[in-house]
Symmetry: C2
Amino acid sequence: MPSYSAPVKDMQFLMHEVFNIAQMDIPGYAELEPDFTAAVLEEAGKIASNVLTPLNAVGDAEGCRLENGVVRTPTGFKEAFDQMREGGWPGLDMPSEYGGQDMPHVIGTAVGEMFSAANQAFTMYQGLTHGAASAILAHGTQTQKDTYLPKMVSCQWTGTMNLTEPHCGTDLGMMRTRAEPQPDGSYQISGQKIFISSGEHDMAENIIHLVLAKIPGGPEGIKGVSLFIVPKFLVNDDGSLGPRNSLSCGKIEHKMGIHGNSTCVMNYDGATGYLLGEAHKGMRAMFTMMNEARLGVGMQGLAQADVAYQNALAYAKDRLQGRAVTGAENPNGPADPLIVHPDIRRSLMDQKSFTEAARAFMLWGAALIDRAHRNNDAAADGLVSLLTPVIKGFLTDEGYDMTVKAQQIYGGHGYIEEWGMSQFTRDARIAMIYEGANGVQALDLVGRKLASDGGKHVMAFFDLVKTFIKENDAHPELKTQFLEPLKSASKDLQSAAMFFMQNGMKSPNAALAGSNDFMHLFGHVCLGLMWAQMAKTSFAALATGTSDTAFHQAKLATGRYYMQRRLPATALHLTRINSGAAPVMDLPVEAF
Amino acid sequence: MPSYSAPVKDMQFLMHEVFNIAQMDIPGYAELEPDFTAAVLEEAGKIASNVLTPLNAVGDAEGCRLENGVVRTPTGFKEAFDQMREGGWPGLDMPSEYGGQDMPHVIGTAVGEMFSAANQAFTMYQGLTHGAASAILAHGTQTQKDTYLPKMVSCQWTGTMNLTEPHCGTDLGMMRTRAEPQPDGSYQISGQKIFISSGEHDMAENIIHLVLAKIPGGPEGIKGVSLFIVPKFLVNDDGSLGPRNSLSCGKIEHKMGIHGNSTCVMNYDGATGYLLGEAHKGMRAMFTMMNEARLGVGMQGLAQADVAYQNALAYAKDRLQGRAVTGAENPNGPADPLIVHPDIRRSLMDQKSFTEAARAFMLWGAALIDRAHRNNDAAADGLVSLLTPVIKGFLTDEGYDMTVKAQQIYGGHGYIEEWGMSQFTRDARIAMIYEGANGVQALDLVGRKLASDGGKHVMAFFDLVKTFIKENDAHPELKTQFLEPLKSASKDLQSAAMFFMQNGMKSPNAALAGSNDFMHLFGHVCLGLMWAQMAKTSFAALATGTSDTAFHQAKLATGRYYMQRRLPATALHLTRINSGAAPVMDLPVEAF
């Protein structure tokens, strides 16, 4: 049975040695001293390891069951959800006026990684609630906030987001769900939504659905879409639960993974709904949820990669098979452990060098969000907006690959469900798809984000890399081992951006044909930047004296692996991008 | 529900226009005229599409059940197996003296691809029988051949291979299963074997297990392993079935995929077995099965990629979502089909350019095997032996990735089991693991095959590439579009081989740290060579006049995609190989 050990030490290193968050000029960050964050992270880690991890296989094996319109979650989920509520975890980074703990997003992200790693299907119930609450917080009236937020912040009520319909996923302009205005100012919502995560379940008193629908007579297409609050039970003025709304779960899907989360077909049959935000501006409100959700999904890629890696590593140290090519390393045993073999080591280093840098990337992104929100910093907002599709797309593509590598280390046992490695792969697979499939992320990056505000944000990113290199190039080892490879990778990224600028206007296909490669190229440069920053910290720690020499030496060795073995992928991505539209688009549709 | 259309046209193109098999000086090949092979392939294609494809989802959903020691296969499997037997398909390329049809391996490979694509779990029952029969054919006494082969060639009896034990998979020297010699010349086999595909089922009268075990007093380790024939029912002298042998299926595994195939724990409790081949030379006999099985597994990678691609393509043409960036292509519809989007096209081209070249590679490899066996050609034998780990490892790694890409095209529907795309991914996953995990293939390639016979076979491969380039470089388009990229990729492969030669002796880790990259580099060069050969054929057909212009133009466009977008991966693999052992091995085990 797999286990999970929360990466508290690594997170502390990132927060306090690499990023020095307590010194950042962001409101609320001064309190994030090492002792404080350690206490939070250790407590979260215990819940992840002791409460959520044991339920992960249970959720996978049992799945959810739909019985007479009610979804039964797997054995133990309800009790664990109560425990999460009692600990106040769902409201960790929500405002205290609605019962939250006011902590910055950077802490929510670190804790979220642990919960996701331990049990992705379970953690989605509160993750979606968080997203729905954020949308109400940003766009709701004061009455709506007062009605829903206290219960949602505590997860007494949970939330969902309803976008997809059978005939439209990405292309929401084709939506058919209707919202008929009523004399009392409410709306009657009718239509069918599919793929609704946590759409129905038995762990909360009420479920607050946020539903996209069209008000008849509004603009055509995506501009005529509005967002509605549609509670499972209507809420009386005194906050008590009123009658059951006209909505139901028609079916739950049988999926490849995340079996513990109920994925519902939701039918709205003239259900009472309340407009959230402005009419016809539903996409804007929905994007509040979506951007948060996309970062959360990127984090899932990292989280599954990390838990899979931890178990692969334990197996590689434990399983005896073959002898080291350079001579027996376990001469008294019948064979050496798997980890002596270079190709096993190569796979473990792929995983380790990814997860540690991805974690840095996530925390850096989270701090940018805090800066954007808490300091009203437009530059930080623009940068994190640019990076959002990279975090979502790159970390989930790579995260999935890492779970496949981890599974491979188990050999035949990796394919047998009882060992648990298959579940990491199957669960990680969804992250490449939901909240905008990764092709849509690449399109968003190249088609929208790259040129937004006149390309200001991507220029800011390049400046940031350049400045870091310039400021630190006096350190010879940092320079040769980290800064030079980073510089070369960053040049590849700049060349690719240049190619799009020169060709994208006259041939949009030339840019879009390279969009997936650009997203990966960008992701590698980001992880390369993270490694360079971590290496700077570790070189400094080793030079000035540290009680943890082995930790910093391991960081440097892992970082060097990334710079030498992973980062050079940027050149391949650039080659593909430079080949332009022709290879991709030459074949006529009918010739496929 | 997914469908499958047998690639008869593509196979005919490869056999008769690219490789001209009927003109090859291999005994039995002269009969392989286009009309004849078309008849065989079309008939096989009908069975694949109409009989095996509909059972694929059934097998996945129902799986196998162990009831009172008997394994029940999914609904319809038994009837389909009868149909396969009646059609004589299992013995297609087996000797006529045992009831087979004497066809060359190249035909067996083409037909095998179809059956695997349609239903991998089902096809494994006969695939393993074929492998076991081949081992008896190569190493059995005349009595053994007469006793077992007629029934196995017809699949009246099926076969298995028993290698793995709970504590040893790759490292078979640690085997504990014992074979005690009996006065009558037979052996009593005792021990437990795991991961035995088709180990027990209800589709055949008898199951002939080939079991590796150690005869007490023999050499230590792998050199003391012998191979035994251990039938489920003992066979009387007149060929009728005798008493049940002392062996049983203790458990069937719950796996990620190939649910329709029973993966058994087999317990041998003093079961009667008969030595196959020489005592203590069991590995040699087992390798007859293993090499055949490895090529068959490589084919599974291609097969799953192809069927997944076919369904992804159909979906991409059918599903309306969004508009082409260059203007609506389906202006009267609510949206354009997915295939208009460059990133969807990129994914489809990845898949198409892989499967078509992989198919060529498989058929070329099969023809080499025929030449090795039927002409006793040592050069062909050496070359195919070198290519076997590449076929197994590269085609299954890439094949799996292609199923993931195909699944991605379905968006959320790809994650829902009823659409069938998840099954292709889950089934394809096993091919990277069984018959020697791909890391073992890479080790076999770099540690053994590369330098075997003084490196003669890899030099022959380089010569073959060089000669092809030289002989065809008068054609300007072939030269610039295909031969030059192939030359560059082949140079990368030669540099990598050179790096291993220069560094491998003093630091074996330097070679093994790059083994996975070398296997992939080699695979890309092979597919590049296949594309160059196909392009030569298509350029010639277009120049001399063909009734099928569109087919040949599509070949060229698809090939150009491979050369421009996929083949440049060789440079990245070389960069990684050249980084040597240090990045991979620097981190001490205790620092992980």
